[in-house]
């Protein structure tokens, strides 16, 4: 694998994380428990979709074959997507969505904090821009985890269930493969070990305050970064890609 190939993979991973979790959150539109929170989730979804557009456009420039953000979003099948498995997990209840958001946002925050200093100008620029938005995401989801975890007996139990169910998808975030290693050596990519430590600190602090308990299991699902996904991704794509596949030349 050369640097260009690794860069393309890296940008697809970043873009697909944003695209898929953004799409998931957009499914809440019109279904939020109260109007303010409905709007909040959709605002965050919009940030993710905007960030995905930047990453996928950069992926197209790196690849140099004329593929656009739309080509990447609409004309790839599930095995060609590079998002982390946690981003494609179903919304479940409000607590499931916020717990998923919290675990991912915290990772995303530290990842972008490092990437804003990347040696690759395009990556650094998008990361610096995105980080300002992710700041708000992680604050929002952290506050909700605390409020619900340290809430009523029912909300506490739902948050603990959400954490127990999602925990097995967190290990993948920190698992470096050839792409991560190559780009780390070039000072382009982030050191996942460094992120893991920061992630652990923040997650434990919030989970403690929320009076929840970190699961003891050390067994983790993986494969999203290499295109091996859970069954849920196919359903997301079926909905997201229907229109451009049914009407390939449709424009606004």
């Amino acid at each position: 694998m050369n640097i260009q190939e690794a860069l393309l993979e890296y940008c697809l991973r970043l873009g697909d994380n944003s695209l898929i979790i953004g799409h998931r959150m957009s499914e809440w539109c019109g279904h939020g428990p109260i109007l303010e929170q409905d709007i909040a989730l959709i605002n965050i979804a919009l940030d993710h979709i905007g960030q995905a557009r930047n990453w996928l456009t950069l992926a197209g420039e790196i690849e140099g074959k004329g593929r656009t953000e739309d080509d990447f979003a609409y004309k790839r099948d599930a095995h060609q997507f590079r998002n982390l498995l946690i981003t494609e997990q179903p919304n479940g209840n409000w607590g499931d969505t916020l717990m998923r958001g919290f675990l991912f946002d915290t990772f995303n925050f530290y990842l972008h904090q490092i990437l804003q200093h990347s040696k690759h100008e395009g990556i650094a620029a998008i990361a610096e821009k995105s980080l300002k938005e992710i700041n708000y995401h992680v604050k929002y989801s952290s506050e909700w985890v605390i409020r619900l975890g340290d809430g009523t007996e029912v909300s506490h139990q739902k948050m603990q269930d959400a954490l127990d169910n999602l925990w097995m998808f967190t290990g993948e975030m920190f698992e470096a493969d050839e792409v991560d290693q190559l780009l780390l050596e070039e000072s382009i990519g982030a050191d996942l070990q460094q992120i893991k430590e920061a992630w652990n600190d923040h997650v434990r602090e919030v989970i403690d305050e929320a009076t929840l308990k970190i699961p003891e299991s050390n067994w983790f699902q993986k494969g999203g970064k290499q295109g091996r996904h859970t069954e849920y991704l196919g359903y997301i794509l079926a909905e997201m890609q229907f229109l451009p596949r049914a009407y390939p030349d449709a424009v606004w």
Binding site: E36, Q37, I39, A40, N43, I44, L46, D47, H48, I49, G50, Q51, R53, N54, F109, E121, A124, A125, I126, E128, K129, S130, K132, E133, N135, Y136, V138, K139, Y140, S142, H202
Partner: protein, 165 residues
């Protein structure tokens, strides 16, 4: 029109007509979205920067710039988007902040987003309707990506706050 007569100042003046489609009192310059106007090999390059990555108003702003310049007879231009240095509320002009307040949107109060934002405390925001500081945040995310929703506990009115980025 003789293009040799056109200057960057002239273009800047024309573009003062272009406002944010969501906040019509703010020009692109007030907002800090307009970064640069420069002639490169006979083509005017207008550089803009997005406020938020997913801001749906960006496309409209681009189209409005295009329409405005064409209206003034300029056709040798292109619009480029840059991300770095990234937009923050620091880029908003003081005049812009004043206009926002008068329009009923509380302007951003701090120079940049709180670096300790992970567990930050919310700031005191002045109600743009009755000027009371007895206000509280209802939601960090408001009617658009750039705004939070506040309510005034004196005049009881809800209002938008253009949050720090």
């Amino acid at each position: 029109m003789n293009h040799n007569m056109v200057t960057a100042e002239q273009i800047r003046e024309w573009l003062a007509e272009v406002t944010d489609p969501e906040i019509p009192v703010l020009t692109l310059e007030d907002l800090g979205v307009l970064r640069n106007i420069q002639e490169v090999n006979g083509t005017w390059v207008i550089t803009i920067t997005p406020t938020y990555s997913g801001c749906p108003a960006m496309k409209t702003m681009e189209e409005d710039i295009s329409v405005t310049l064409k209206k003034h007879g300029l056709d040798n231009f292109k619009i480029e988007t840059i991300l770095k240095p990234s937009w923050t509320t620091d880029w908003m002009s003081e005049a812009g902040k004043k206009k926002l307040f008068e329009y009923g949107i509380a302007p951003p109060v701090k120079p940049t987003a709180n670096k300790k934002v992970l567990m930050g405390i919310s700031e005191t925001i002045i109600c743009p309707r009755c000027k009371s500081s007895n206000t509280r945040m209802l939601s960090q995310f408001g009617s658009t990506a750039c705004k939070a929703l506040y309510v005034c506990d004196d005049c009881k009115e809800p209002f938008d706050y253009f949050k720090c980025l």
